[in-house]
Amino acid sequence: MKFQFETIADFIAMNGHGPYVWASYAITFAALIFLLVSPLLQKKNFIKQQQKLQKLAQANPAADQSVE
């Protein structure tokens, strides 16, 4: 197992195939990061929204509908 390129510049250029290879990896990892972050954000927003509802319910127990 050895590093396949002489220099870092070679590694970036990849004999002219660099733009294709790096663009592919960039797009893929961007998509993977989106897949990972989006459910985390959704969960955060959901919890925030539910907490607001709970506060409202505590302030006004008569109108309480959302939490049993």
């Binding site: 050895k2 893929t28 990892f29 897949l35």
Partner: protein, 250 residues
């Protein structure tokens, strides 16, 4: 006795609480595998003697394509389980699987297209695999469109489960047909991957990437399913307890 776990799957709460502990481990495992595989594939695997360095796209293109296809089957099978045993949880898995699969299909299409430029000299070639991928992408889009069309959640779940099953029966037929169509119109173009000639030193990073993609897929599917569980069970006591518990920590 052995089937107890299966009956428990009927309870979204049990599933949510059970999987909470898995999340950090699964995240660490999949990110470690993906980074190892990517660095190995990009920097340490030898260059292909025919395609040079552009073949390094294989390490993301092929796993993404695998998961795109496997994702459709996972979606359809969870839909079938939901329909047959009338459980809530499989429908939540099915709903979460659709956009993930669509995005992975899109990634494999884009990376395939970029790979095509240095290999075939064109951004788009009506190659059998790419064409099948495109049709798979259409199947996902139809699935997502149908899921969003219904206002009634129960109808939406069951209708999309039927569509997913019909799609699952059709996928092998579509793949075979496109394959046959392709040999008819353009025999013997350069194949991305010829299985017999791939060297082990190139294969190991690919294997790591495939396992990494599977682990990552499991991770994001679980994360999305867990959010879906919270949304659908938002009126239950256990979710509201969970929310207030989060309140105290924050």
């Amino acid at each position: 006795m052995a089937w107890q776990w299966f009956h428990r799957l009927g309870s979204p709460r049990w599933f949510y609480e059970k999987t909470t502990a898995w999340m950090p481990w699964l995240a660490a495992l999949s990110i470690a595998l993906l980074l190892t595989g990517a660095v190995w594939g990009l920097a340490f695997a030898p260059a292909d003697f025919k395609q040079g360095n552009s073949y390094r796209i294989i390490y993301i293109h092929v796993p993404a394509a695998f998961l795109a296809l496997a994702g459709y089957y996972i979606m359809a099978i969870s839909g079938a389980v939901g329909l047959i045993w009338k459980m809530k949880l499989p429908f939540m898995v099915m709903k979460s699987a659709a956009p993930i699969g669509a995005l992975l299909t899109f990634v494999s299409l884009v990376t395939g297209s970029i790979w095509g430029k240095p290999t075939w000299g064109t951004w788009w070639e009506w190659d059998a695999r790419i064409t099948s991928m495109l049709i798979l992408f259409f199947l996902y889009l139809g699935m997502i469109a149908l899921q969003q069309a219904f206002t009634h959640r129960d109808t939406s779940d069951k209708a999309s489960a039927v569509l997913a099953l019909v799609g699952m029966v059709n996928i092998p037929i579509i793949y075979k047909s496109v394959d046959w169509w392709n040999t008819l119109h353009q025999p013997a173009t350069i194949k991305f991957t010829s299985k017999s000639t791939i060297d082990p030193s190139m294969l190991y990073p690919l294997l790591i990437m495939v396992i990494g993609f599977y682990a990552f897929y499991a991770l994001v599917l679980l994360l999305n399913t867990r959010v879906e569980i919270l949304r659908r069970e938002s009126r239950t006591q256990w979710v509201s307890d969970l929310i207030s518990a989060t309140n105290k920590r924050a």
